[in-house]
């Protein structure tokens, strides 16, 4: 970008992001689609505000670098070591398996073998930015699929180096390769830099950060954080290694340091904005002219490579024993093309292995696959995952023998377990149902009798003995399922009393509307206990804190119950909540004042008895 247009550029990028992202969020499409759409909109194919997205792509790549640094920060060396098998084993399977498959199909379709090889390797890469971005957005980083995606992404980062080194060789594939000497030197340099980063990170970084933090200048610490990442990236690039990989390494080395949290908070906003910029740049770089010129070929490439990669990933996910419901995300995130693909194709075009039009065709295919990924995820959320969820549960046999216990507990998670344990402790054997195969297996290992059973299904509830049960505990954490089950039970088993867990007030209202009366908000009592602790810490007497909490509870419960009929009238709810709060505050304030007065007042009898606390000790 030109220097003069810096301001205009910022204006365009920021405005596009600020408009498009909330809109995409509002449409439940996720922020990444918003960024991509913003990019298409302002790019050469859209309104042409920006005509050369390449520079921006380079600049914004730093967002990916920062992201990997932050990912590294979350991963202590010990955990990284334990991931070595998925990284090198499964990562290689993904990359080389997909590449081999695509190469084979390419050659079989009569494409030149060099082009096939470049295309296969480039398309086998997956977008780390979108992958990890989606995992973070959905909070899946800690799951099996999250760790698997991370492992594969890391291997791709590592593998990108030899692949990029290999490309120029393809151009002169006919002749014998000559670059050996330089290659060895390069390898030595690369190893040297990695050693320098590891040793430096171990020995120097922490004291340096301590010294900088000691200066008590927050912005300098931020600057130092950025410098650290920039320096690592620069060092890696100088020897031709992946910047992101270097940043990741630096992050891992600092994962155990006391500055981990500070580094995270300092870099988070930069990462977010730069990643956004990166996605915008990707959106801009989709050359719709190429796509429109050969729509069928582009579509065939996109669909073809997505399917081939997905096939490999599907096999992997089975072999890796990723839980069924997590598989769609795993497959979709790794099936897409990635930003390394851009680099591969550009380098290959530069080296003359493939020609420019083919390169832009492949780049367009990758970019389109990245654009499709968030959409595919939305689709998977709607259709694929629910279907799988239904399927996987059936692996565990449904409840089949008729039960006749007086109590049924539906949902044996954190909430249902406590209910169940209290009942067991008192000699009651409830019939316990859950819909999570994992949960059931875990609970069975602990010796609980838990059946697979969906409480929304009439036939299963009948088998579970709902027609004989006196109490049915609805401890399901899914609000919709809970309401659905309550509706079904009220209709078909009117003799059973429902004792329900409510996730929140709106859930409580929905259950209340169905005629359920024994509803507990899951957080109310725990929070009140905490409030009691706070009062106690501030010097309130323990018994007084207890009384105040119980009275607050009664007031709150009465208020919520009173407002149940107006649950859809938000204005009314807000007004009533405000009024109720004010009422209680005034009442408590008044009592405090009266208590003070009473203390100041003299005794009330001639016989010198103490202040008339007879009836009031407990109330205060």
């Amino acid at each position: 970008m030109e220097h003069t247009s810096w301001l205009t550029g910022s204006l365009v990028y920021l405005a596009a992001a600020v408009l498009a992202v909330p809109l995409a969020k509002f449409l439940r499409l996720g922020s990444i689609i918003g960024y991509l759409a913003a990019g298409i909109l302002i790019g050469p194919s859209g309104l042409k505000f920006v005509t050369d997205p390449k520079d921006m792509l380079h600049f914004a790549e730093f967002g990916v670098v920062l992201m990997l640094f932050l990912v590294g920060l979350e991963l202590e060396p010990r955990r990284l070591w334990s991931l070595r098998k998925p990284i090198f084993g499964w990562g290689s399977v993904q990359l080389f398996g997909s590449a081999a498959l695509m190469f084979g199909v390419g050659v079989a379709c009569g494409v030149d073998w060099r082009l096939s090889l470049v295309g296969a390797l480039g398309l086998a890469m997956s977008s780390t930015a979108i992958g990890l971005g989606v995992l973070a957005e959905r909070n899946l980083m800690a799951t099996t699929s999250g760790q698997s995606v991370l492992s594969v992404a890391l291997l791709q980062d590592v593998a990108a180096i030899p692949i990029l080194a290999l490309l120029p060789l393809l151009a002169i594939a006919g002749a014998a390769s000559h670059g050996d000497g330089g290659g060895w030197l390069g390898a030595a340099k690369a190893i040297g830099v990695i050693l320098a980063i590891v040793l430096g990170g171990r020995l120097l970084l922490r004291p340096a950060l301590r010294w900088i933090a000691g200066s008590q200048t927050p912005e300098i610490f931020t600057a130092a954080s950025l410098l650290l990442v920039v320096a690592t990236a620069a060092l890696m690039q100088a020897v031709g290694l992946s910047m992101a990989l270097g940043a990741f390494l630096a992050g891992v080395l600092l994962a155990e340091s006391e500055y981990r949290r500070e580094l995270e908070t300092d870099l988070e906003p930069f990462k977010g904005l730069l990643l956004g910029l990166f996605f915008i740049a990707v959106g801009m770089s989709i050359d719709f002219a190429v796509v429109l010129a050969q729509p069928v070929i582009v579509a065939a490439i996109v669909v073809g490579f997505l399917l081939l990669k997905a096939a490999v990933l599907w096999g992997m996910s089975r072999a890796m024993e990723i839980p069924q419901v997590e598989r769609p995300v795993f497959i979709i995130l790794l099936a897409q093309g990635g930003e390394f693909g851009f680099v591969v194709f550009q380098t290959a075009a530069g080296a003359g292995v493939i020609d420019a039009p083919t390169s832009s065709l492949l780049v367009a295919a990758v970019a389109i696959s990245m654009l499709l990924t968030p959409l595919l995820l939305v689709g998977a959320d709607k259709w694929w995952i629910p279907a799988l969820a239904g399927q996987s549960k059936r692996k565990i046999a449904e409840i089949s023998e008729p039960q006749a216990e007086p109590v049924i507990i539906a949902g044996f998670g954190r909430y249902g377990q406590i209910v169940g344990r209290m009942l067991y402790a008192n000699g009651i054997q409830p019939t316990v149902l859950d819909v999570s195969a994992d949960q059931i297996e875990t609970m069975r290992r602990f010796g609980w009798r838990v059946f697979y059973g969906d409480a929304t299904r009439l036939d299963l509830m009948r088998t579970a003995g709902a027609d004989k049960a006196r109490v049915i505990v609805l401890a399901i954490d899914d609000v919709e399922k809970s309401v659905e089950a309550a509706t079904m039970i009220r209709e078909n088993f009117p003799n059973a009393t429902i004792v329900a867990r409510a996730r929140n007030v709106q859930h409580l209202y929905e259950l209340h509307e169905l005629g359920v009366r024994l509803i507990e908000r899951e957080t109310l009592d725990a929070a009140l206990m905490s409030a009691r602790s706070v009062l106690e810490e501030l010097g309130w007497e323990r018994h007084q804190a207890r009384n105040l909490a119980l009275r607050f509870r009664r007031h709150n419960v009465a208020q919520v119950t009173k407002m149940a009929p107006h649950r859809n009238d938000e204005a009314k709810l807000v007004a009533a909540a405000k009024q109720g709060r004010q009422q209680l505050e005034e009442q408590f304030a008044q009592e405090r004042e009266e208590a003070l007065k009473r203390q100041a007042r003299a005794g009330w009898g001639h016989d010198g008895r103490a202040a008339p606390t007879v009836g009031e000790a407990a109330a205060e």
Binding site: T561, G605, G615, A619
Partner: protein, 232 residues
Amino acid sequence: MDSPPPAATAADILVITAHPQMEHSRVNRRLMHSAARVTGIGANHTVLVRDLYALYPDYLIDVAEEQALLASARLVVWQHPIHWYSMPPLMKLWVDEVLAFGWAYGPGGDALRGKDLWLVATTGGPEESYRPDSYNRYFFDAFLPPYEQTAALCGMRFLPPLLLHGAHKVDEAEVAAHETVFAQRIASYPDWPELEHLSDCIACEVPDDARPAEAPEDAPPATARRSETEAA
């Protein structure tokens, strides 16, 4: 417990029942149920039974509601087993909180004045144990003054208590007879033979010097005001 029970409707006879282990009760449970049935058989007054341990398992007494019910009753019955020569703890808490200063006693505290208080109690020990030569060392009357004085301070007439000693051991016939007496008394109140000889109000006149030396500076009694707002 997220739905509070509907407010009770006031009655002429208010039976306050307190038994911490109603599941083990032989006598008090029957008395409570028979009192509740009196309402149904068309007596000329209404009866309301308040089972305190069922209403307030968490010991959080709704003072406002209790006071409102007391205010409209003519006869208040305290029905409970004697525990350690006194009332069960929730009953005592009820007394502490509901019979509040400025409402039941003290300045402006005349909400209960002129009403009757009737103690209906059971003891585990047999009657013979309440003798100077037995393990309870006192006649049972010796444990009544706190009750009598509570009534007196509130300006209430303390009716002759109805007692059943040795509640664990007495035979079924005796329990049934006791229950009948209790139910008849509830049904026929205030036409009880023993009340004819009872002075109008033994200790209704609380001497002036038992009242506070000076009225508090601001007029409305504290607890009554609290009660009004608390109802929300």
